[in-house]
């Protein structure tokens, strides 16, 4: 089949434009999952850890007593550690607990460094983990500026009480972190932590949808992100 140079160029140009347009339209239609943590609501219940308990129970996260080998997907840390530099010594927020988790960054350094793509950014914004492929090099842990990732220094099974058979455990030698409950999102349920919070302090939603409750909350209230100057684009927002 012969094609003239002109026709070929026209066809290529047209195909290129269509491909870009499809991607752009697709991007608009895709979800971009995010979460807002309302510290004031969280503060209403002192020492409440229901979100953490729900997450760790659902996902078979081991409870390892030795802090050095601890595995945690969610945890609480005072504002002056979690959002250091954004909360000064005169602020009332200093000691307020912030619930911390993987920020599922827009520009995640952990994804950039993983040598096997065992962690990657999905189209819906979730930074996913493939525990079959992870070689346990812990490069992602070195790269994460938030300390969100945990490594299985030993077999976690002895430390899992009441295993949830609907979700696998992990094995020793792999890195794990919050997955924004992608398996629950797939069946239309909210993340376990969001569902478990008695004060409804956690708001989860689609950042790409201006009408979503999350977007409206962010529009209405002053909020912060962790270490914004690093350019990671975290999608977890902290409402003072």
């Amino acid at each position: 089949m012969t094609i003239s140079r002109q026709a070929f160029l026209r066809l290529s140009g047209f195909s290129f434009v269509v491909a870009v347009a499809r991607k752009a339209i697709g991007a608009g239609a895709r979800a971009r999952w995010g979460m807002a943590v309302d510290a004031a609501k969280c503060l209403k219940r002192e020492n409440c850890t229901k979100c953490i308990a729900a997450c760790h129970q659902e996902h078979n996260v081991p409870s390892i007593p030795d802090r050095a080998h601890e595995v945690r997907w969610l945890w609480k840390e005072p504002f002056d550690h979690a959002l250091a530099g954004q909360v000064d010594e005169y602020s009332a927020l200093r000691a307020v607990p912030a619930m911390l988790l993987c920020n599922h960054c827009e520009n995640p350094p952990c994804v950039r460094v993983c040598p096997t793509q065992a962690t990657w950014k999905r189209e819906d914004g979730i930074v996913a983990m493939d525990w079959h492929r992870c070689i346990g090099c812990r490069y992602c842990m070195a790269a994460c500026p938030y300390g969100s990732r945990s490594f299985n220094f030993m077999d976690p099974r002895p430390y899992i009480h009441n295993a949830n058979a609907q979700f696998p455990t992990r094995t020793k030698g792999v890195v794990e972190k919050c997955t924004f409950c992608s398996e629950r999102l797939a069946v239309g349920r909210p993340p376990a932590c969001v569902e478990a919070c008695p004060e409804k302090a956690l708001t989860f939603g689609n950042l790409n949808d201006p009408q979503s409750p999350l977007r409206q909350l962010l529009q209405a209230r002053q909020h912060m992100r962790r270490r914004p100057e690093l350019g990671t684009g975290p999608d977890v927002f902290y409402i003072a």
């Binding site: 078979n60 996913a128 493939d130 079959h132 609907q166 696998p168 455990t169 094995t171 797939a186």
Partner: protein, 132 residues
């Protein structure tokens, strides 16, 4: 023939080692009987033809794994049109095959194969095992 003693010793050791599989199995009471798998009671049709599953179930499982983990989609339609959720414990075990001891282990132990799946994937809880 100064080395007669050493040679006979060596021969004896060699014969013992070479026939090790035979007399060890005799001693352990190993028979030629194959694995006795417990077929599922409720479900009659597998996600794929039995012959295919017998030879290539790992291919199917690896394919399921890639699809679920890398693309996030869990829907699978078998050859006869039935929909399944691609999931090891909830579907393969809890829906049909019971527990790994009843089904998977029977052939795997016989064939001396130990796939690492169960380092992570959780076996059916004991309470649910008899239901199948």
């Amino acid at each position: 023939m100064r080395d007669r003693g050493a040679i006979y010793c060596g021969l004896a050791v060699f014969l013992a080692l070479a026939t090790f599989p035979a007399w060890h199995n005799l001693e352990a009471g190993v028979t030629a009987k194959g694995p006795a798998i417990k077929l599922p009671v409720r479900a009659k049709q597998c996600v794929a033809p039995a012959e295919y599953m017998r030879t290539a179930h790992m291919n199917l499982l690896m394919g399921w794994r890639e699809t679920v983990v890398r693309t996030g989609t869990r829907g699978f339609t078998s050859v006869d049109g039935k929909p399944y959720n691609m999931s090891l414990t909830p579907t393969c075990l809890q829906q049909c095959h019971g527990s790994k001891a009843d089904f998977c282990d029977k052939c795997h132990t016989y064939a001396a194969v130990s796939p690492p799946c169960w380092n992570c994937h959780v076996d059916t809880p004991p309470a649910l095992r008899s239901a199948l």
